[in-house]
Symmetry: C2
Subunit: 387 residues, 2 copies
């Protein structure tokens, strides 16, 4: 059996598990490192091995536009292409459709007003121009304009499965429509129902392809509306996906997000992994596993790294902004208890110098630290929480 | 004895040698990797160890402006600050004075018309504005305006020795005035004579400080004028520096440069190392060792790397521009005979994807390859040329 998921310990709703894939084992709860374009920004696969990265999530939408799934297939699939032999997930592109569409109109991310800086794709080159929608959704699928060159593309539930087969990740996701926290009940319901019809089509396409190198996960939608989330979780549970992602709008506050999880996870099958898409700030990792979440992905640790913000859990701080002049002559490492390459090798003073001087090794060394911090935190959570 | 230089083999004027420093041995002829700001751009010290880098050259002018020599001293010196335990040289800042001054007026580099793109410091932020000189040279030293914040600074032969003591490199250089290929005989002569007076003052200051952790090298000037180069080599040889750099204008063509070396190296003491400052294109490495050059430094391998140009010696090519569409679906490494991390791990197709996508790991992987290429070339030259 190439894929399996086993819950080995429980504490309330929280679970510790082992997710097996053809490219290795993932100990859950796990942080999924974002490698949108088939590369984790600023680091290379040997860095990731040193960090203890378990699994990477790449993006179907971005890889379809550059370098294209056919090239990746020709090069032997995403693992070989990017030189990473561990597990890989591909997100379907549904969130990017949202980002290029209604998120541009509404000016929001997954939770309204909470993460204004965290929209992983603001529309790229075009974002500084008019906030015009770059997508059109219809029953068949989605038509969108490339942020790279303005060319027109179409995603359907079926071709997204085919594209993801070419890319060759271990775990692939159905095409979904991600709604905005500002969408009303009626629109959110319609979008959810369409997402369900798309999920069925994706599921059929996946079966038709008789693909035993990959597993397909469904995505629960329904915004911050209880009956919709419950219905979506039930509907998708009956379809027997190999795993479940929780996507879409998570409301207007962290409390809303927790309520969505509160409603959703008890309905999802207990023997299948659950992935909370696009969420994974430090505070979220600790709280969301209590609701039975097994996997998180988030750009925050890597993005913060590139702007000189180092994650810590010290002296009441959750980060160090290395540009702060207090670190100018600080001979100590970012975190004296951290054994990442960056903390073993360099002082805060030197790291600050690299960022001030604009040296591109600064972002790499910060990324190594932040990813190591998150992996280490997840490891501690797995050990302590379930001991 | 902390420092020594031994010529172990000769072939014509070319020499193979061993240069010992408190931070390790340099086998010559050697390529000196440029780490202007106390960091080799895009890579870290562990990368350099993997590459086989022997020695780094940092820059007094740049480090004085950011982060300042006092901070480096407080952090335990340049080796500890940057996490590099191997030998370090600091250039004196004379070339930067030239870059900010007459090079801006004349629009030239070290060899007129040959390397228009290679001026290592075009004046930074200010270069796009008026080409006004940012320095004033007088008998006492040089006054210059910081490219970072417009503040005024003064370098003298004495304070450059003090600054370099604070930085703490193994090998330090005297402050010199670098002339332009368009300077006439009279100005070149005057500048050379002032450089000689500065060399004496630097030498005295260095002796006064009773510094046995560093050695001081002189810099031969005299432009492309035979009698001036010969006189400068003689004058400085009598001062018994621990080593000699050849700086300044090398004329208007590669032939001019070779003639300068032809005149200069026979006069310099045979038992002292010779460093050709700022020169080190692939073709120069092979030709210049024939004139008895032991050390080269050049930004070209690292700068080319950051723009996607990979060094090779194959099929009549000396580089691969990875943006070229012919590499789009090329599954092979940059060089199948290269055993650097980049060539062992990634295809041309993937490296092209990284550069097209703007991933910052692209420049790092290219830098690893290019520096490995140059180190490997020097190793082959040492082995083959003197066998």
């Amino acid at each position: 059996m190439k894929f399996s998921f086993e819950v080995i310990k429980e504490s309330g709703r929280a679970r510790r598990g082992i997710l097996r894939t053809p490219h290795g084992v993932i100990h859950t709860p796990a942080f999924v490192t974002v490698g949108t374009l088939g590369a984790v920004k600023a680091v290379s696969p040997d860095d990731l091995k040193g960090i203890g990265t378990q699994v990477i999530i790449a993006n179907t939408y971005h890889l379809h536009l550059q370098p294209g799934e056919k090239l990746i297939e020709q090069m032997g699939g995403i693992h070989r292409f990017m030189g990473w032999n561990g597990p890989v997930i591909t997100d379907s592109g549904g969130f990017q459709v949202f980002s290029l569409g209604v998120a541009r109109e509404h000016g929001v991310g997954k939770i309204a007003g909470i993460f204004p800086d965290e929209n992983p794709d603001k529309g790229g080159h075009l974002s500084s121009r008019k906030k015009k929608k770059l997508v059109q959704i219809d029953e068949d699928g989605v038509e969108f304009i490339s942020y790279r060159d303005g060319s027109t593309h179409r995603f359907t539930p079926e071709n997204v499965i085919q594209i993801q087969k070419s890319i060759g990740a271990d775990i692939v996701l159905v095409l979904d429509e991600c709604t905005s926290p500002f969408h009303d009940y009626e629109y959110t319901k319609q979008a959810m129902e369409r997402t369900h019809r798309w999920a069925k089509r994706a599921h059929e396409e996946f079966k038709r392809m008789e693909n035993d190198e990959q597993v397909l996960w469904g995505i629960v939608q329904g915004g911050a509306y209880r009956d919709l989330r419950e219905y979506s979780a039930e509907f998708l549970s009956e379809m027997e996906f190999s795993g479940y992602a929780i996507g879409g709008s998570l409301g207007k506050s962290k409390d809303d997000m927790h309520r969505v999880l509160e409603w959703t996870t008890p309905i999802l099958p207990g023997d299948k992994p659950r992935h909370l898409l696009g969420i994974g700030r430090i505070e979220d990792l600790r709280t969301c596993i209590k609701y039975g979440i097994d996997l998180f992905d988030c750009v925050v640790p890597t993005r913060m790294a590139r702007t000189g913000r180092f994650l810590v859990e010290k002296e009441g701080k959750d980060r160090i902004n290395i540009f702060n002049s207090r670190y100018k002559d600080d001979p100590g490492p970012i975190d004296e208890d951290c054994n990442c390459y960056t903390c073993r090798s360099f002082s805060r003073a030197y790291l600050r110098h690299l960022f001030i001087a604009g040296e591109i090794s600064g972002p790499r060394l910060a990324t190594i630290h932040n990813l190591h911090f998150v992996e280490n935190l997840m490891k501690r959570i797995r050990e302590e929480y379930f001991s």
